[in-house]
């Protein structure tokens, strides 16, 4: 009965209802898009960074992280790959042998990071071959050549086809010394990597370090990155827990996690302001409604309508309008995000260059986590219902005589 009354009431003045519903609609739409955009940018950033560095998750020999020495490497194991790939969320595995060495050319010497990689797998994940600025990318795991970061090459005054001399410590205190032809130069966004990295085919690196078939880590790329911690648990349980440790990028790169956290806080403030503006818009329309209907409400009370019932009807009306607005907002937000997921925005010009300098794709992705829709809609709905208590309060306070005469 009350529901029906409320429903009929809101359609008595269509224009008012539509205006209110529209303000809710825009509120929901904006909140959803804003969250989706910032989350999308973060996800993209994380994806870009982890695909070059650690992967979302990384498997090591137990104890490697505390003492990152080649002596804490482990034997490459097909069973481990199988166990990891059995998880439907795991998309790619990147085996790596990571060591430090001295690199030298004529009289220049510098400490470098040697990443022994599987060039084919690496290429599939982070498009390494597209970052080559000069020369060529390494093709197979035993290609006898290396790819250098551009910054490193210029510090050592090396060009494509020059010889790079490497000297380091190998597995179990053997010496690791080798010469390699520089096959290509690569430009990486992360300055630290760009100035220090030597990409070496995995087998060459294993041979040079006397560590045949050994790896320091396997980086794991994931399809879905929500519930990272739970996934980490699941993976840890699926592999031999005594031999391996699983770490997430948040543990391995706490500085990036903290940066995102700090940046998010700023976005929460902006979204807070957005909610504030939305609330006032809603409040305005509710106030207008109450004034317009003062006469009518006065008469209803005068002829014996209970005040609290009337308040409930008004509350229901607001809730219905909000629901309509939210529903429309979610549909519109969903469509917009679908559109932008299919056709992401590509930056052009200067902005594109800035992004690429940081090694991040110049594309704006929207995140389509259902979490965003649910949370944003709930927040707006809650706000509008809270605001709807005001008309109810007004009705309780209403003096029928004054109202009728107004």
């Amino acid at each position: 009965m009350l529901l029906k009354l409320a429903w009929l009431n809101i359609w008595r003045n269509k224009r008012r209802t539509i205006i209110t519903a529209t303000s809710v609609f825009f509120a929901v739409l904006l909140a959803i898009l804003f969250r989706s955009l910032t989350d999308g940018i973060y996800d993209n950033m994380i994806h870009n960074v982890v695909s070059y560095s650690s992967g979302y998750l990384q498997i090591h020999q137990k104890g490697y992280w505390e003492e990152q020495s080649i002596d804490n490497s482990f034997e490459e194991d097909g069973q481990l790959y199988q166990d990891l790939l059995n998880n439907p969320n795991v998309t790619q595995l990147m085996p790596r042998l990571q060591t430090f060495a001295l690199a030298s050319n004529t009289d220049k010497t510098k400490g470098v990071l040697i990443l022994g990689i599987d060039p084919v797998k690496e290429k599939a994940v982070n498009n390494l071959h597209k970052k080559i600025t000069d020369g060529q990318y390494i093709e197979t795991i035993n290609d006898s050549a290396v790819v250098l970061g551009e910054g490193l090459a210029s510090q050592l005054k090396l060009k494509v086809n020059d010889t790079l001399v490497l000297l380091g410590q190998g597995y179990h205190a053997s010496s690791a010394a080798a010469k390699f032809r520089v096959k290509g130069l690569i430009k990486l966004g992360a300055i630290e990597l760009n100035n220090n990295v030597v990409y070496m085919p995995l087998q060459q690196s294993q041979y040079m370090h006397g560590a045949e078939n050994r790896l320091t880590s396997v980086s794991v790329m994931l399809a879905k990155t929500t519930n990272l911690e739970r996934l980490k648990q699941t993976l840890q349980e699926s592999i031999e827990a005594d031999t391996y440790e699983v770490m997430s990028w948040k543990e391995m790169m706490p500085e990036m996690d903290q940066f995102i956290e700090a940046d998010s806080t700023a976005h929460y403030i902006i979204i807070g302001v957005l909610y504030f503006v939305i609330s006032f818009g809603l409040f305005g329309t509710l106030l207008m409604m109450i004034f317009e209907r003062q006469h009518e409400l006065g008469i209803l009370i005068a002829i014996g309508m209970k005040k609290y019932l009337l308040a409930i009807i008004l509350l229901l009306e607001s809730a219905m309008i909000s629901l309509i607005g939210c529903f429309m907002g979610v549909i519109a937000g969903f469509l917009v995000i679908k559109w932008f997921t299919a056709y992401p925005i590509h930056f052009t010009g200067e902005l594109k260059e800035i992004y690429e300098d940081y090694g991040i794709e110049s594309i704006v992705y929207f995140s389509s986590h259902e979490k965003i829709f649910i949370i944003q809609t709930l927040v707006v709905l809650l706000l509008s219902i809270l605001l709807a208590f005001y008309p109810g309060y007004k009705v309780i306070k209403l003096k029928p005589v004054e109202a009728i005469n107004s």
Binding site: D71, V165, L167, H172, A173, S174, S175, A177, A178, K179
Partner: protein, 256 residues
């Protein structure tokens, strides 16, 4: 204290042997004389040795074979003969310089001072141990602490404190020298805080190359349990003349 003198093996000095033969002088030997005798026992004008070095770690171990040539205090050359991957690597000590020839990169590297305190070939010896100029006789003040028995042998226990002018990192070194053969059987190295850092044990006295020497030397770093390095002398020849020209950077590249 020169640990390296055990690696490089100088020959006896003949005079010393004669002195030894004439015996019975030991009774009133000073601490310094004892150390000098032990020092002379392990060195000669020249030496050529065949050495096996074992690196022992808690979870793994590794063995290397080497040939070593020495001449007096100033020259020594070490050639790695196995494992295959490191075969042909050469270390040359010429007076105070150390050179390292690495065939796989065709580079001859002069070890900078900053690398001197780093491990030599992954062992418990440092690069510095290779070049140490200090003489256990002239750069220390010696004091006889008494007699102790080490592996059933009567030993002089001698405390050696570096002279202020000597460039030695230890605060003191305590050595145990066999009172019969005058061979150093044990040494303890203490750092500037008086903490025991390394223990070196010498054992398996054998007659090789016409001399009685300790053919096995073990080095134990005290703060790393389970780690040690063992040097074994398989063969050694003393006092076979070697030309100074042998100890050159050019010769390093041709050494077999």
């Amino acid at each position: 204290m020169k640990k390296i003198q055990f690696i490089k093996f100088s020959a006896y000095n003949l005079v010393c042997i004669i002195v030894l033969m004439s015996m019975q002088l030991q009774q009133d030997l000073s601490a310094k004389d004892i150390v000098k005798k032990a020092d002379d026992n392990m060195r000669g004008k020249t030496s050529q040795a065949d050495i096996t070095i074992k690196i022992i770690r808690p979870t793994w171990s590794r063995e290397m074979n080497m040939k070593a040539w020495t001449k007096g205090d100033d020259y020594s050359m070490i050639l790695v003969t196995s494992p295959a991957k490191e075969k042909g690597t050469v270390f040359l000590k010429r007076i105070k310089e150390v050179w390292n020839w690495i065939p796989s990169i065709e580079r001859n590297i002069k070890l900078p001072p900053s690398m001197m305190s780093q491990s030599w070939m992954g062992t418990d010896f440092t690069n510095d141990d290779l070049v140490k100029e200090a003489s256990s006789v002239s750069d220390y003040d010696h004091r006889l602490l008494g007699k102790e028995t080490i592996s059933d042998k009567d030993c002089y226990k001698i405390e050696m404190i570096p002279k202020p002018s000597a460039a030695i990192v230890w605060e003191k070194v305590i050595v145990w020298i066999d009172s019969e053969d005058f061979l150093q059987l044990k040494a303890e190295f203490y750092d500037e805080d008086g903490e025991l850092v390394n223990i070196m044990n010498s054992s398996e006295v054998k007659e090789i190359g016409g001399r009685k020497i300790t053919s096995k030397i073990e080095m134990f770093p005290v703060d790393e349990e389970g780690n040690s390095t063992v040097i074994i002398y398989n063969d050694i020849t003393f006092d076979k003349p070697i030309n100074d020209n042998f100890f050159t950077t050019r010769n390093m590249k041709q050494l077999k």
